[in-house]
């Protein structure tokens, strides 16, 4: 009697998948704490529910498997049997079998004709053999190697089709089924459609805003402003629906770790921090496989055998720590083990054997670079190929997959104390900030994650500042040669109208695979939040594009894949060698001790600087745009109001407390003001300076105490005594906080 009510069946499937995921976790935790009656009862209940429902729906085979498992579990629950790793393995095998049948039901509606008699046999056998009351107490650590598990085919990832409610691993098992009123199941398709629609709404909104600014109509403007607010909020909320806690994929790791550890005779405890860290659904899916691989690797390679650990004075049980946290608009995921660490010498030896390094280079290579060699294709130091790892594929695949979604991987290791792999990935792929540039009449978007800085060379400078190394263009950026690529050449495009843009040169300094390079474009337009759309299959093969997006005016712009562009321009191949060279000559680390400063002239032509990382952007605005709001000076900036502070007054006001009638000096009404946009207390504030000079990298080692308030210290930067301005201190004295109330009041109106 196959069930024909598909709604009930799909409900049953979704519910069962969730239950099974919990079962995996519970069984593994139960193994560690076999006496925990509560979790045992929870496991029993879950299996019982599945059995009951499938009996009701007429899935006889499924019922039989669940029933056999239930029998075994009931013995365990009643204390007539002790949980051994062997029993756990068979029970996990049962969970897999149930998954497999469920997958079959999902695709065909029937239970399929796989044969589970072997598994049933084993379940029965354990029942009878272990049922003796005098069964030896199981000690998991001393357990004999487990028997070969019944053949298990991994169930397909069907769970993806359903957004799971928030992680509830902490909740007692009994709570399920009752807490369902606060969450509802929604198909992912629906969410994707919602996202698309919101994207369209945002575009329509942008067009309406443009139009309403042209038409002098107060009520239209009021309505469009309101629409603007609502659309922005809606966009934010819809984005949130796509966010899932990383715990959703981590939850399967205890099981993975257990299986791998058991397979290679190790003891590993897994710990997780930051399970609730949320990521976009598409990213969660994309990092699942790389993370699984890293976890398996850590157990198989990282953590040593118990005897080795004991000899080394470490606890028998290895520790695997997964951490996830937000940092700077990115999500960091760390996988640390307390194993033996990476073997530096063996990595070097392998690299030399494979011809990746010369023995000489290897000898002088820094540790960090050495460790990161493991991400090169075909690189594996495993002495024997196990079924888990050692085949020489893997780490490079991890790296490629993570980079595909705009992330980075890095490994650190301390011999004898373990290694940590750190994966950094963006929060979302759906909407990203990007720099929009023009090349040969077309606009292209460059994801801002890869953007380092922008350099503009005026016509005269351009002739001399761009030099050639045997034909390859380079630019001296802070005394280092920056390889250059012309976007126009790389894309092989000619201007539509045939006009050749002459004069100034715009260099977009980008980072690909950790190496900077300059991309020369015709015009730099602006930064914009863009909605990323995938490319169709007809053009998917082109590595230089990561996707496409619709701009505010409704036209389509391609999104550049920085890695692809760099590869096409041969930047990556060359610089890989350079990286090695630098590592051996030791020039690399020195640079990192320097910090970047923005040099500018302050009042009375004083040389001043600020650390670059305190700045958000640099802007030039016409003096006519400065408006007065209450006692403050402001300018309209990117749809918001930017409070302005004149650095000259700020430094002076500390002494005189004088109020100024004008924001800028008399006679400067037509000038263009140079503004440093800083982040301060959650808002942006503009600090006006006389003239922005340059961005330099300097260690600023020669220092002298500050002579006045608002200055951190004086230092020699680029051979010039320069005052380092303390931006927070300057803003502290200018009463910016009061400003937020005014802003809030405006919004309410």
């Amino acid at each position: 009697m196959p069930a024909n009510d598909s709604d009930i069946v799909s409900e049953f499937l979704a519910e069962s998948y969730e239950n099974l995921d919990r079962l995996d976790r519970e069984l593994v935790s139960l193994e560690k704490d076999p006496q925990n009656r509560d979790s045992l009862a929870g496991v029993f209940r879950t299996i019982h529910t599945i059995k009951g429902t499938c009996g009701f729906l007429g899935f006889g085979k499924l019922e039989k498997v669940a029933h056999a498992g239930e029998n075994l579990l009931s013995l365990l629950r009643d204390g007539r049997l002790n949980l051994t790793p062997e029993i756990t393995t068979v029970l996990l095998g049962m969970v897999d079998a149930i998954r497999q049948i469920l997958a079959e039901i999902k695709t065909t509606g029937l239970e399929g004709d796989a044969d589970y008699s072997g598994l049933l046999e084993r379940l029965k056998l354990l029942q009878s053999s272990g049922a003796k009351p005098d069964a030896p107490p199981a000690s998991p650590s001393a357990a004999p190697p487990p028997p070969v598990a019944p053949p298990i085919i991994e169930a397909k990832e069907v769970e993806k089709a359903v957004i799971q409610p928030a992680a509830k691993s902490e909740a007692p098992p009994a709570a399920t089924g009752t807490a369902s009123s606060e969450t509802i199941r929604v198909g992912v398709n629906l969410l994707d459609n919602l996202m698309t629609l919101v994207g369209e709404l945002v575009l329509a909104r942008n067009q309406l805003l443009q139009y309403s600014n042209l038409v002098e109509n107060a009520s239209l403007q009021a309505v469009s402003q309101r629409l603007n607010l609502i659309a922005t909020e809606l966009q934010g909320e819809v984005m949130k629906t796509r966010m899932q806690p990383i715990g959703n994929i981590w939850n399967q790791f205890p099981r993975t770790v257990r299986d791998v550890a058991l397979g290679c005779g190790k003891e590993v405890a897994i710990e997780m921090e930051g399970k609730e860290t949320e990521l976009d659904k598409t990213i969660i899916e994309a990092i699942k496989d790389p993370l699984t691989h890293l976890v398996r690797n850590a157990v198989d390679h990282g953590i040593e055998l118990p005897e080795v650990r004991v000899k080394a004075g470490k606890p028998r049980t290895g520790r695997l720590l997964l951490r996830a946290f937000h940092q700077g608009g990115q999500v960091n995921i760390e996988i640390s083990d307390d194993g033996g660490g990476l073997n530096r010498d063996r990595i070097k030896q392998k690299a030399v054997e494979r011809g990746l390094l010369s023995p000489d280079q290897a000898a002088r290579m820094a540790d960090r670079e050495t460790y990161n060699l493991i991400f090169l294709p075909g690189f594996s130091t495993a002495e024997k190929v196990t079924n888990v790892s050692g085949r020489g594929v893997g780490m490079d695949v991890v790296k490629t997959n993570v980079e595909k979604i705009g992330g980075t991987v890095d490994v650190q290791s301390t011999p004898g104390h373990g290694s940590t792999v750190r994966v950094k990935i963006p929060l979302t792929l759906a909407i990203i900030p990007a720099l929009v540039v023009t090349c040969a009449g077309d606009r292209y978007a460059i994801p801002q994650v890869s953007l380092l800085e922008l350099v503009r060379l005026e016509a005269e400078q351009a002739k001399t500042k761009i030099e050639l190394v045997h034909g390859a263009p380079v630019y001296r950026l802070r005394e280092r040669l920056l390889p250059l690529a012309y976007l126009r050449h790389e894309l092989d495009v000619k201007p539509k109208d045939g006009a050749e843009a002459a004069g100034a040169i715009n260099i977009v300094v980008l980072q690909a695979d950790g190496r900077p390079f300059g991309l020369i474009v015709d015009t730099i337009n602006d930064t914009e939040e863009i909605v990323v759309k995938p490319l169709s299959k007809q053009i998917k093969g082109i590595k230089t594009f990561a996707g496409a997006s619709i701009m505010g005016d409704g036209s389509v712009a391609l999104i550049l894949d920085v890695l692809g562009v760099a590869q096409r321009a041969n930047i990556i191949g060359e610089t890989h060698d350079r990286e090695l060279e630098e590592a051996v000559t030791g020039t690399g680390p020195q640079v990192s001790q320097k910090s970047s400063f923005l040099l500018f002239t302050g009042p009375d032509e004083a040389h001043m600087a600020v650390p670059l990382d305190t700045l958000a952007r640099l802007e030039e605005i016409p003096a006519s745009q400065v408006e007065r709001s209450g006692t403050r000076w402001v300018a309209q900036y990117r749809g918001q109001i930017l409070p302005l502070v004149n650095l000259a007054f700020a430094l002076e006001e500390r002494r005189s407390r004088r109020r100024h009638k004008k924001f800028f000096a008399a006679g400067a009404e037509n000038a263009r003001l140079q503004i440093l946009v800083c982040n301060y207390k959650g808002q942006r504030v503009g600090v006006m300076v006389e003239q922005i000079v340059d961005i330099v990298e300097d260690s600023a080692e020669v220092r002298y105490p500050a002579s006045r308030a608002g200055v951190l210290y004086s230092a020699v930067v680029q051979g010039q005594v320069t005052e380092l301005i303390d931006i927070p201190a300057i803003l502290e004295g200018s009463g910016i906080e009061a400003f937020q109330d005014e802003r809030a009041a405006e919004v309410i109106q």
Partner: protein, 152 residues
């Protein structure tokens, strides 16, 4: 009685072509096309179809027909191919034509080259021939030079 078939027809260089009506999502006037550098010449570019980004394929190029005269603006026949919308750029839109199934004939042996894979055959109308296109094949684009370059 023979089965009736419906085709959405259009013109390319004076020839009458048709795709199965059920494959067609919509027909729209010219839209601004964003070119895709490094793509196969057959890809005309990307268009914004109400917030959806759709690849436009120049059917003239796909079928080895001489390029469209400079000032003429093509029309978009948006078809569904493998669940994705693809726009076929054509010179001019014709009617929806209903034909008898048995008026169909495969292309003559003398039709050679890659065009043969795209043109399924012709329906003999009273006054002219209706070239029937394989929608899936028409939307297929040969490996681009870029892909080939990277693979070598």
């Amino acid at each position: 009685m023979a089965q009736k078939l419906q085709f959405c027809t259009f013109y390319l260089d004076g020839l009458l072509f048709g795709v199965k009506l059920t494959d067609v999502q919509e027909v729209i006037r010219f839209l601004e096309v964003t070119r895709v550098p490094l793509s196969s010449g057959v890809v005309s570019g990307l268009i914004n179809l109400r917030g959806q980004i759709v690849t436009a394929i120049d059917l003239r190029k796909r079928l080895d027909i001489a390029p469209r005269p400079g000032e003429a603006q093509p029309m978009n026949v948006v078809v569904r191919s493998e669940n994705c919308a693809v726009s076929l750029l054509v010179d001019q839109i014709g009617d929806v034509v209903e034909v008898e199934e048995d008026s169909f004939e495969p292309p003559p042996e003398t039709l050679r080259g890659m065009v043969r894979t795209v043109i399924l055959g012709v329906h003999k109308l009273d006054d002219r021939l209706l070239h029937v296109l394989d929608t899936e094949k028409a939307c297929q684009v040969a490996e681009t030079s870029e892909v080939a370059a990277i693979q070598t």
